[in-house]
C-alpha cells in the first residue's frame, strides 16, 4: 500500500532511515528533491529530502533526525504503518554535470541529502572528495555509503570521538593545504556550518551550492513562508530551490527566520518530555 513503511533502521543517535512504498515519487525523483510529509493528521507538514529511491521496486528512503514534535511522531511509527500524507518530488533537482573535481561537505543530518547528490555526481563521471562530520561518533551517519561512492572520504567529529577532532571546515583547510583543488563544491548541513564552510570554499574561488532549509508549510509555492534572500532578491526555497548559489545568501536573515517559532517549539518539546516521563 502506498506510503507504508517497509523498513525502519536506526542510523545514529536519534537519526532514522525509513524505506517507504511510494512508486510514483520513486519513479520521478532526482537528486536534490524533497517531499512534504505529514506523519499523522495531528502533526505539521514537514520537508524531508529523498535520500535514496528505487524506481523499479517503487520505494523511496528518508533519513531524519528527531528534533521536535513532528519528527518525534514520525519516529514513533513502525514497519507496516502508513504515513498519512506524502507529496513530491518537490523542488528543483540538483544541476549535475561533469564539473571535474568536486568537493562534497556534509554536516550532521545534512549528510543524508548529500548522498543522492554524490551518487549523481559520480554517475556523471566526476572525481569526488567528501568530508562528513557530526557532533560525535554516535551521531555520524552514512559513513559506509559515502565511502563507497567517494574517491576520497574524510570524517570529522566535534568531540574527537572518531576521525579528525574538529569541524569539517578544518578538514577542508587541510585538504586544500595539501594541494587539492576543486572545480565545484556542494555543502549541506546546519545553517551555521553552511555559512562558515561556504565562505571558505568561495574564498578559494570554488563555485558552491548549498541546500537551504527554511521553515516550509505547503512546499508548492503557495505561502511564501520559505522565503530567503539570494543576491538581494526574495526567493521561495520550495519552488526556486532548495539549492542556491552560496555566494548570494543572506545567512543572517535565514538564521533569524528559522528561529521564528523557537518559543512554541520549546513548549512542545517540554510537554512531550513530560508525557514521556509520566
Amino acid at each position: 500500500m502506498s506510503n507504508a513503511i517497509l523498513n525502519k533502521e536506526n542510523l545514529a543517535a536519534s537519526a532514522w532511515r525509513y524505506r517507504i512504498h511510494s512508486p510514483k515519487i520513486a519513479r520521478k525523483r532526482q537528486a536534490g528533491q524533497f517531499i512534504m510529509l505529514r506523519p499523522v493528521p495531528e502533526t505539521e507538514r514537514i520537508p524531508l529530502t529523498i535520500a535514496n529511491a528505487d524506481a523499479e521496486q517503487g520505494w523511496i528512503e528518508i533519513i531524519f533526525q528527531v528534533v521536535g514534535r513532528t519528527t518525534m511522531f514520525l519516529s514513533g511509527l513502525d514497519v507496516g504503518d502508513e504515513i498519512s500524507d506524502i507529496a513530491g518530488p518537490l523542488g528543483h533537482p540538483t544541476r549535475i554535470e561533469k564539473f571535474g573535481r568536486v568537493i562534497c561537505i556534509g554536516g550532521g543530518i545534512g549528510v543524508a541529502p548529500l548522498y543522492p547528490i554524490l551518487c549523481s555526481l559520480k554517475d556523471a563521471g566526476n572525481d569526488v572528495t567528501t568530508i562528513i562530520g557530526a557532533r560525535s561518533k554516535a551521531h555520524l551517519i552514512l559513513e559506509k555509503e559515502m565511502k563507497e561512492k567517494s574517491d576520497k572520504l574524510f570524517v570529522a567529529t566535534d568531540d574527537g570521538s572518531y576521525g579528525h577532532h574538529g569541524f569539517v571546515s578544518d578538514v577542508f583547510n587541510q585538504v586544500q593545504d595539501a594541494g587539492d583543488r576543486f572545480d565545484s563544491a556542494f555543502v549541506i548541513g546546519p545553517v551555521m556550518m553552511m555559512k562558515v564552510v561556504s565562505s571558505l570554499t568561495l574564498a578559494s574561488g570554488i563555485n558552491t551550492v548549498v541546500s537551504l532549509n527554511p521553515i516550509m508549510i505547503d512546499g508548492t509555492g503557495m505561502c511564501g513562508g520559505c522565503r530567503v534572500t539570494v543576491h538581494g532578491k526574495t526567493k521561495f526555497a520550495c519552488v526556486d530551490g532548495p539549492e542556491f548559489d552560496a555566494s548570494g545568501i543572506d545567512w543572517e536573515e535565514l538564521i533569524r527566520r528559522l528561529k521564528s517559532y523557537q518559543s512554541f517549539e520549546e513548549k512542545e518539546r517540554n510537554e512531550h518530555q513530560c508525557a514521556l516521563v509520566q
Binding site: K24, E42, L90, I217, R256
Partner: protein
C-alpha cells in the same frame, strides 16, 4: 397615503434582515457570522420579488441562475424544489450564497434596488441550499451510463469541482488531483470558517464522491506526474487545469522578511488548513497584539478578522486607496467595521520595522491621495510628499494579491502562457493551445471569484463533452 399603506410600502422596499451573531461576541469565536433565514423569513423575502418577465438580476449572474424561478418556489414554500432549480445552473449554491459579491452581480441589477433594498438573492440562495442539506434531501441526480473515458482535473477549487461534477454526471471517469492534503482549494485554506463553514465544503465534496468522482490528494501535477505523462502513460483523454492563483505577491519593501510578516496565504493557511485556531492544532502562528493587514480585498478582510479571532487586541487594515475602491464584498467591509477593525485608508507601507532579533515592531507608511483613473478604472493612488508616519504592530499580513501558480505553466511546454503568467484559454470554450487540455478559474483569469471559476468550469465541461463524445 394612509399609515398602513406607508408601512406596506416600506416592507416592500425593505429587506428582511438576516440575524447575525453580535459583533462583540463573534469577534472571538469562529462560528459563522450570519445565522441564515428561517422558513418564515425566507418566504417573506421571496414574496418581495416582482417576478420580472425580463429579470435584470439574471443578466448579472455569471452562470445565469434562474433567479425569479427559484425565488418563486421559496415564496410557495417549495424549498426542496427551489434548491433543485438552483442546482440546474449552480452546483454549489450553499457556497455561492455565502461568498458571491451579490451587490455587483444579481442584487446590483435587481429592479427593486432602484427604489429600495434589492431582493436578497444571496440570502435566499443560501437558505434553499441549507434547507435541502439539513432536510437530507440532497439526491444524486440522473446519471448517464459510464463511458469509460478518463478525465484528469488539476486542482480541487471551485473550477475543478464544477468540471468534475458535470463530467461525472455525463458518465466520464473523473479523477481530481490536488497538491495539498485536503480538497477544496481556496474554499478550504483561504476563506475562513466564520464566513464559510468547512463542513459545507466537505459535504459538497462528499456529494461529488457520491457521483463517482475520485480525488487524489498530495499529488502535485507537474512534479508527481506531468500533464503529458497523465495523458500518454495513464490514459487520460483530457485534462482540465484549475490550479488557481496561489502565488502570493509581496511588496518588495525593506524589512518584508522580518519574523512576523506573513503573506495572507500563509496566515490563513496556518489558521484554516493547519487549524492553528483549534485547541488540538500544533501549527504555530504569531497571534499578535496589534496586527496590520495590508490590502483592501476579501483576502485582507479575512486576514484582519482572523487576527481578531486569534486574540489580537487591535487589528488594523492599511489600504492605499479609499473605501469606495476597496474590492472586498460590501458585507465583509461592513462586518469588519462592526467587529472593530481599524481602517487606515489612503496610506501605504514603505518599510517594515523590526528589532535586533528581526521581529516585527511596526510599519512605516506614507499617505496617499487619489489621482487620475488607471487602467483598472480606479483612481490611481499617489504618495503625498513628507507624509510618512509609523504604526506599531507585532504582526504584518500582506494581502495585496495572488498570482498564478507557475508549476503547471513551467512543466507543460506546449501550453501558451500570457505575460501575467496565466494560462491562455478561450473564454467561450475553455480550450488552451494544447489539444485536449482545458483550463479555467483563477489560473486563466488571475485572482477573481468563486462564481467565475465555477462558470469557467462549466463552460469547459461542456466543451470536453462535445470534443470527446461527438
Amino acid at each position: 397615503m394612509s399609515v398602513s399603506e406607508t408601512k406596506s410600502m416600506n416592507r416592500r422596499f425593505l429587506r428582511t434582515p438576516m440575524r447575525e451573531q453580535i459583533p462583540t461576541i463573534r469577534k472571538s469565536n469562529y462560528h459563522e457570522v450570519p445565522y441564515g433565514y428561517n422558513e418564515e423569513e425566507a418566504v417573506a423575502e421571496a414574496k418581495r420579488c416582482l417576478q420580472c418577465k425580463k429579470p435584470l438580476c439574471v443578466a448579472g449572474c455569471p452562470v445565469n441562475v434562474q433567479i425569479p424561478e427559484f425565488i418563486r418556489l421559496i415564496a410557495e414554500g417549495e424549498f426542496d424544489a427551489a434548491a433543485k432549480k438552483l442546482k440546474e445552473t449552480n452546483a454549489l449554491p450553499a457556497i455561492c450564497g455565502r461568498v458571491c459579491p451579490q451587490e455587483t452581480q444579481c442584487e446590483g441589477l435587481c429592479i427593486v434596488g432602484k427604489k429600495g433594498d434589492p431582493i436578497a438573492v444571496g440570502n435566499l440562495e443560501r437558505f434553499a441550499a441549507d434547507w435541502e442539506r439539513s432536510a437530507g434531501k440532497v439526491a444524486v441526480p440522473p446519471m448517464s451510463p459510464k463511458n469509460g473515458i478518463k478525465i484528469a482535473v488539476v486542482g480541487s477549487g471551485p473550477a475543478g469541482l464544477t468540471v468534475a461534477g458535470e463530467l461525472s454526471k455525463k458518465g466520464f471517469d473523473v479523477t481530481i488531483f490536488e497538491a495539498l492534503h485536503e480538497p477544496g482549494g481556496v474554499l478550504l485554506y483561504g476563506i475562513p470558517e466564520f464566513r464559510l463553514p468547512k463542513e459545507i465544503v466537505k459535504q459538497e465534496i462528499d456529494y461529488l464522491q457520491k457521483l463517482g468522482v475520485k480525488i487524489e490528494c498530495n499529488f502535485v501535477v507537474g512534479k508527481t506526474q506531468t500533464i503529458d505523462e497523465l495523458m500518454a502513460e495513464d490514459g487520460y483523454a483530457a485534462v482540465f487545469v484549475g490550479s488557481g492563483a496561489g502565488l502570493p505577491s509581496f511588496m518588495n519593501i525593506q524589512g518584508e522578511n522580518s519574523v512576523g510578516v506573513y503573506s495572507a496565504n500563509e496566515y490563513l493557511t496556518r489558521a484554516n488548513l493547519m487549524r492553528a485556531w483549534q485547541g488540538t492544532a500544533k501549527t504555530p502562528i504569531f497571534k499578535g497584539k496589534r496586527v496590520v493587514t495590508v490590502g483592501g480585498g476579501n483576502v485582507a478582510m479575512d486576514s484582519a478578522r482572523t487576527a481578531l479571532r486569534l486574540g489580537a487586541e487591535e487589528s488594523i487594515i492599511v489600504y492605499r486607496r479609499s473605501e469606495s475602491e476597496m474590492p472586498a464584498r460590501a458585507a465583509e467591509i461592513h462586518h469588519a467595521r462592526e467587529e472593530g477593525i481599524i481602517f487606515h485608508l489612503l496610506c501605504n507601507p514603505v518599510a517594515i520595522l523590526s528589532d535586533e532579533k528581526g521581529f516585527v515592531t511596526g510599519i512605516r507608511a506614507i499617505r496617499m491621495e487619489l489621482g487620475e483613473p488607471d487602467e483598472s478604472g480606479r483612481r490611481r493612488p499617489i504618495p503625498v510628499k513628507d507624509s510618512e508616519f509609523e504604526i506599531n504592530c507585532d504582526v504584518v499580513v500582506i494581502a495585496i494579491g495572488n498570482k498564478p501558480n507557475p508549476l503547471i505553466p513551467t512543466t507543460t511546454p506546449d501550453i501558451e502562457i500570457s505575460r501575467h503568467g496565466t494560462i491562455v484559454a478561450n473564454e467561450a470554450d475553455g480550450r488552451t493551445t494544447k489539444q485536449y487540455v482545458y483550463a479555467g478559474g483563477d489560473i486563466v483569469s488571475g485572482a477573481a471569484t468563486v462564481i467565475l471559476a465555477m462558470g469557467a468550469g462549466k463552460v469547459a465541461a461542456n466543451t470536453i463533452i462535445q470534443d470527446l463524445l461527438s
